[in-house]
């Protein structure tokens, strides 16, 4: 089966070029903090500052109470559990989209697998926000918020699926961006719409029926919402749904990679 072979070869590329992938990813991460005095400390400061901001705005100012939230869990916890996975996804797609274009010097002068640029951009975002998420969870836990720690195991399923989804978009848009520079502009608009089309600030339960039906076409709904529910200890995981989304992501990844590889020989002409 050609599709299966495609996936295997993606893994082969990753394994054979693991040194390069690691170097590119580390450089990407390092890139954000070089030149700053705080260095990697910012990686910890940023999520905590954001968390504090949300706490002040939503708890102290708005005093938001989500109606369907059981156990009396505060809104700040509710947001935090969905926001970091979203930030990882969103930033990964944005960075992946410009990855090839920004490494034009490399593409023009060195022969290597261009897909690694996309992978490293996405991986570095997930690594940074993964650490941020861990810090936030830890702080929330220490502060006595009621986190369902066993739910962490569900991340083993949800994070790879979210990663695959980010890779799909990054591969498609990253290849397109080389030819059509408008992609990047359009993407930031689309992302802000997508933010509200995903249950981050609200649970799906309060979305009116007709809108919820439409929102279910957004694959992120099937990752972000159950991920948060697992960490809140609400409901049980729908294995069939997770498996379905995972399979869909794998298939979409194969298609996106084929698209990317089809265009990648011509990157050098355009960057």
């Amino acid at each position: 089966m050609g599709l299966l072979k495609g996936q295997v070869s993606a893994l082969q590329v990753l394994w054979r070029q693991r040194n390069l992938l690691l170097a590119l990813t580390l450089r990407d991460i390092q890139n954000r903090y070089t030149g700053s005095v705080g260095g990697a400390l910012w990686a910890l400061m940023h999520p905590l500052a954001l968390l504090a901001l949300y706490a002040v705005v939503f708890e102290a100012v708005f005093k938001v109470k989500v109606p369907n939230l059981s156990l009396g869990q505060p809104y700040v916890l509710f947001i935090a559990l969905a926001l970091w996975p979203w930030m990882a996804f969103q930033e990964a797609v944005m960075r992946g989209t410009t990855a090839v274009q920004q490494n034009g010097a490399l593409v023009k002068k060195v022969a290597f697998d261009h897909e690694l640029l996309i992978y490293s951009a996405v991986l570095s975002c997930f690594a940074i926000h993964g650490v941020g998420f861990a810090v936030v969870l830890l702080v929330l836990g220490v502060l006595g918020f009621n986190i369902h720690w066993l739910g962490l195991f569900s991340l083993l399923a949800f994070v790879p699926v979210l990663l695959l989804m980010a890779l799909v978009l990054a591969l498609l848009l990253g290849a397109l961006q080389v030819f059509v520079r408008d992609v990047e502009q359009l993407l930031s608009q689309v992302m802000s719409v997508l933010f509200y089309a995903t249950p981050i600030l609200f649970p799906m339960a309060i979305v009116p029926g007709w809108l919820a039906d439409a929102m279910h076409y957004n694959p992120l709904v099937h990752v972000i919402e159950p991920l948060r529910n697992a960490l809140l200890g609400q409901g049980s995981m729908d294995i069939a749904s997770v498996a379905g989304v995972a399979l869909g992501s794998v298939l979409a990844f194969a298609a996106a990679r084929a698209f990317f590889l089809r265009l990648s020989p011509y990157f050098e002409d355009m960057v």
Binding site: L20, Q30, A105, K109, F112, F179
Partner: protein, 395 residues
């Protein structure tokens, strides 16, 4: 020479899409996805065919924009050919343009690690090589400064050091020698000569015919994306230079190849050494005089220059002089040829075999055109060391 070439090009061509206004980019993506060529293209290279075998060194010559760099990129694998077939075997190390793939914002050290990773090295493997890379590049403590603060010479040095840290089967370099200073050029040339001696294969692009002739056995001349000539490096570079001069002088370019073969460049028509024009092997006693005379042809009637020199049999120069340095003017004879005579009085070379060489040069004394050579066997008895006697006195 092994049977299968390391690099094989047959009918290779490369087209670049021309930039157009409006929504053509989307049309281009669509045509790429369908596997068709865009409608407006610039043909950077057309119908290039040649083979490179293990142990060969091949130089690419041509004017700016002829397509040399594109060809090197094709062979390096950075660019895929639009037409034709290109096969590559073995590990190919490429140094394309200034500091291949260095990122200006990162430090030299960071760039070295990434460049090594691009060559497939792990961090640990790079770690073991970094000392020798830094030693070769010789940029001292600047290594921890961002590349953007480097001089172009430093970037090239670092690039060359990295590209050669893993000895490739084929090394591709594009004009690197032009940027480095004299001592670095020497280091590079020494490295390349050693690399060639160990059976390495070299592809070099240079505007310096001196480098082409010194380092390459074969050369390929490219003009306007097409191959004009390929063959022996000295022959190709001579033809290229002559063509280049003809072009500069606005001489009609028709049939220039045919003309080149005959007489369109400065050349030594005949010469004799110590009265003998049979230069197979010349014997003289140490301390004897060496008399050289010859006739030089000048295609444009301007007064050419001549250089004469002696080399050791391993190619190391002992002494060379150009007529222009001494203010010597060649005399035109009645046939329109220019005559020169030079005498080395009391030749103080120690016994052994030497090469005597003479070149015809352009009137400016800048370029070597022709080369004639003979072997001089100096006889005599001496226990002195080295290869030439320096005037001395014990007291």
């Amino acid at each position: 020479m092994s049977a299968t070439p390391l690099i094989q090009l047959s009918g290779v061509g490369k087209s670049y899409p021309l930039v157009q206004k409006g929504g053509h980019q989307l049309a281009q993506v669509w045509s790429r996805l369908r596997g068709t060529e865009p409608s407006h293209v610039f043909k950077a290279l057309q119908d290039i065919s040649f083979d490179v075998y293990k142990g060969q060194s091949v130089g690419l010559v041509g004017v700016n924009g002829a397509g040399k760099s594109t060809l090197l990129k094709l062979i390096a694998g950075v660019v895929k050919p639009t037409t034709g077939r290109l096969e590559r075997r073995g590990r190919i190390g490429a140094l394309l343009e200034l500091g291949a793939g260095f990122h200006p914002d990162y430090t030299g050290r960071d760039n070295v690690f990434l460049a090594c990773a691009l060559m497939g090295l792990s961090r640990a493997e790079t770690q073991t090589r970094i000392e020798s890379i830094l030693a070769f590049a010789d940029i001292g403590e600047h290594i921890d400064q961002p590349i953007k603060h480097y001089s172009s010479g430093m970037v090239v040095r670092l690039g060359f050091a990295v590209a050669t840290s893993v000895v490739p089967d084929v090394l591709i370099t594009d004009e690197v020698l032009a940027v480095g200073d004299e001592s670095f050029q020497k280091k590079c040339i020494a490295w390349m000569e050693n690399f060639l001696m160990q059976g390495g294969t070299l592809l070099l692009c240079s505007h310096s015919m001196y480098h082409i002739q010194k380092l390459c056995q074969r050369a390929v001349w490219i003009d306007q994306g097409r191959m004009v000539m390929q063959g022996d490096a000295a022959e190709v570079s001579r033809s290229y230079l002559a063509w280049h001069d003809a072009k500069a002088a606005h001489v009609t370019q028709q049939n220039h190849l045919e003309k080149l073969k005959n007489s369109a460049h400065y050349q030594i028509k005949s010469w004799s050494v110590n009265g003998s024009s049979d230069q197979t092997l010349l014997t003289l006693d140490m301390g004897q005089a060496l008399n050289i005379q010859g006739l030089v042809y000048s295609p444009d009637g301007r007064r050419p220059q001549v250089s004469v020199g002696l080399l050791r049999s391993d190619g190391i120069a002992i002494y060379g002089v150009v007529s222009e340095m001494d203010g010597y003017a060649l005399q035109q004879n009645k046939d329109g040829l220019f005559e020169f005579r030079i005498e080395f009085m009391h030749l103080q070379l120690l016994p052994g075999k030497y090469h005597l060489r003479a070149h015809a040069m352009d009137p400016e004394g800048l370029r070597l055109f022709d080369q004639v050579e003979c072997v001089v066997n100096v006889t005599g008895a001496s226990r002195e060391l080295g290869f030439c006697r320096l005037a001395h006195q014990w007291s």
